[in-house]
């Protein structure tokens, strides 16, 4: 979507006319708010499943009753089931990219839980990884050290000498934009990406009032450096949030995704929603497939999520028939996340079989 196209009126999936004014409003509210995703939805629905071939994918669902449970074992089991063993990890330098956008006292539903991050780090080290670093470019915090301290992540990782890198303020490396869904010809990444061999997107399972839901693909937004794109990555919102998600994932595809769905967020996510217990971890190498699986767990139809339908057949697959489900069944962990009718990006996302949106 070129920037100038925002001048054209469009209709959302629900039929409401969206204007440039709507889009600008959502972009400004920005990092936190808005509706920008919607006006792309019709466009993407039109090209839905028009691709000729989609790869098959596997995802692994684990049950995890709490953050105090042994989380390393299910992550190891998932990786084993997905064919990721010592041969794939030995001597690799690993970057874990959690979602550490913000925190609040006592809140575990806003960010990827430190215990999940540590468990992933331990799983990688047990498979022979040369090193593990945790990196994030928070959209709302100016220094990662503060959120690491407030969440207890710094102490937890210090036990294993795992460093936390502030991706907002790292040196920059510029790569050609492989997606070209935005007008941006190049994308600036933190130099940390050139010092690792294997990137793991570790999102929180949340609703989102710009993108509908935020999972492993949207989580890669946090890789982008604030010094180049601002806080909350405002330039990327202005050129199109869904297009930016696609460009980032096309240019720097992650090797693995581990979704923290033990306690997620429903309603007015990604910051102001309420906790939602789902008791699950979702793991996979194909990010659109992982997100589609997580979306179905949340009671969300992935083909209604603009960046997922646009990614399907290109960056991965979201078709249920293409995804082999390992571990637990979808039905055994499915729990409906609340979607708010007042948030345009969340309208009409509900899986038909579970439609019970809350009118507000």
């Amino acid at each position: 979507m070129e920037r100038g196209q925002a001048k054209t009126e469009r209709r959302s999936a629900g039929g409401r006319r969206l204007t440039r004014r709507d889009v600008l409003a959502s972009v400004l509210a920005g990092g936190a708010l808005g509706t920008a995703g919607l006006f792309f939805q019709k466009y993407y629905e039109e090209i839905r499943f028009c691709t000729t071939r989609e790869d098959k994918a596997e995802t692994f669902i684990a049950k995890a009753s709490s953050y105090d449970a042994d989380l390393t074992a299910p992550i190891q089991a998932g990786m084993r089931e997905l064919g990721i063993g010592p041969e794939q990890i030995r001597d690799k330098r690993i970057l874990l990219k959690p979602n550490l956008v913000e925190t609040a006292e006592g809140a575990v539903h806003i960010h990827t839980h430190p215990h999940v991050i540590r468990a992933a780090a331990e799983a990688m080290l047990r498979l022979g990884a040369a090193s593990v670093i945790v990196g994030e470019g928070s959209a709302n915090y100016r220094e990662i050290a503060r959120i690491a301290e407030e969440t207890g992540l710094d102490e937890l990782l210090a036990e294993d000498n795992i460093p936390i890198v502030d991706l907002n303020c790292d040196d920059l490396v510029v790569r050609p934009n492989a997606g070209r869904r935005t007008r941006l010809k190049t994308l600036a990444f933190p130099a940390a990406i050139e010092k690792v061999d294997f990137v793991v997107s570790m999102p929180k399972m949340k609703t989102h009032h710009l993108a509908g839901i935020t999972l492993s693909m949207k989580n890669m937004f946090g890789l982008m450096p604030g010094i180049a794109y601002g806080w909350p990555k405002n330039l990327l919102h202005c050129v199109g949030i869904n297009e930016s998600i696609l460009d980032i994932n096309a240019t720097l595809p992650a090797h693995l995704a581990i979704v923290d769905g033990i306690i997620g967020m429903e309603g007015d996510g990604p910051l102001l929603g309420v906790p939602k217990y789902a008791g699950t971890l979702v793991i996979g190498r194909n990010l659109p497939a992982v997100d589609a699986t997580a979306a179905r767990i949340m009671g969300v139809e992935p083909s209604k999520v603009p960046h997922l339908i646009a990614a399907s057949g290109w960056l991965g697959t979201i078709r249920q028939n293409n995804i082999t489900q390992r571990g637990e069944t979808l039905a055994s962990v499915q729990t409906e996340f609340q979607l708010l009718e007042k948030i345009p990006a969340q309208r009409g996302l509900r899986l038909k079989a579970t439609r019970r949106d809350r009118p507000l």
């Binding site: 004014r21 600008l24 409003a25 972009v27 400004l28 509210a29 920005g30 990092g31 936190a32 708010l33 808005g34 913000e102 609040a104 959209a139 709302n140 915090y141 100016r142 220094e143 050290a145 503060r146 301290e149 710094d154 210090a158 460093p163 502030d166 303020c169 920059l172 510029v174 190049t186 600036a188 009032h209 604030g226 010094i227 180049a228 794109y229 601002g230 806080w231 909350p232 405002n234 330039l235 202005c238 007015d268 910051l271 102001l272 708010l340 007042k342 948030i343």
Partner: protein, 226 residues
């Protein structure tokens, strides 16, 4: 000024360059050019949008992180501080900065990156942004207009243990002559945390050390009164 030649739209460091050149006669022309850029050439989006839906007045023109995007608290506060340091605080654009910052103040006090109310809910304040805004607004608005923000920031101090956030928080409170009795202890605690957590970023440490040095905020220092 931009962050790198390959990212010319990332113009927010202009304000920092102005501050860095303060008191350096050999950089005076560069500084003047940078001030002119801030005053005349900064590109910022100011669409007219309903305040009830976005929570702020989008027609006010502050400063963006990157050209042709929206005004945000930090670049606007930094621009205001740079303009004050170069005695341009009476320029209409400086007054724009004051208006933007006051408009983005959260209902219960404090500032964050610049999002106020979303779908009817107020977002959380952040101490680092609050410190920057208070520093920028010192002497520009009556104390009563920012009293809730000063109280919010004062209530945060004890739990701030990282250099950038504590540094800006100290600067913001100091600018408003708020007494900070255990200032040195707080600064030392942060420095000592490096033994456990590893070295902090140099830029963040610089903010903390400046804050430690400036007991009345940044402006006196920049005016050579310290």
């Amino acid at each position: 000024m931009c962050i790198t030649p390959q990212q010319p739209e990332a113009c927010w460091p202009t304000s920092l360059a102005i501050l860095a050149w303060q008191g350096a006669p050999e950089q005076q022309k560069s500084q003047e050019k940078a001030v002119r850029f801030l005053l005349e050439h900064s590109k910022v989006l100011t669409p007219k949008l309903p305040k009830e839906s976005v929570g702020c007045d989008t027609t006010l023109k502050g400063w963006p992180w990157t050209a042709d995007t929206f005004s945000w608290v930090e670049p606007t506060a930094l621009a205001m501080i740079a303009l004050r340091a170069t005695h341009s605080e009476n320029h209409p654009r400086a007054q724009d900065a004051v208006a933007v910052l006051m408009d983005r103040q959260l209902p219960d006090g404090g500032w964050n990156i610049g999002s106020t109310i979303v779908f009817g809910q107020a977002l959380r304040p952040m101490p680092e942004n609050t410190g920057m805004a208070l520093q920028a607004l010192c002497g520009q608005v009556p104390g009563k207009d920012v009293a809730k923000s000063i109280r919010y920031l004062g209530s945060c101090l004890e739990r701030l243990h990282t250099p950038f956030t504590l540094g800006w928080s100290l600067l913001g409170l100091s600018a408003w002559a708020e007494g900070i009795p255990n200032r040195q202890e707080m600064v030392m605690n942060v420095l000592q945390r490096q033994d456990q957590c590893g070295a902090f970023d140099t830029t963040a440490l610089s903010v903390l050390l400046v804050a430690h040095y400036c007991e009345r905020g940044l402006i006196d220092l920049l005016d050579g009164k310290h």
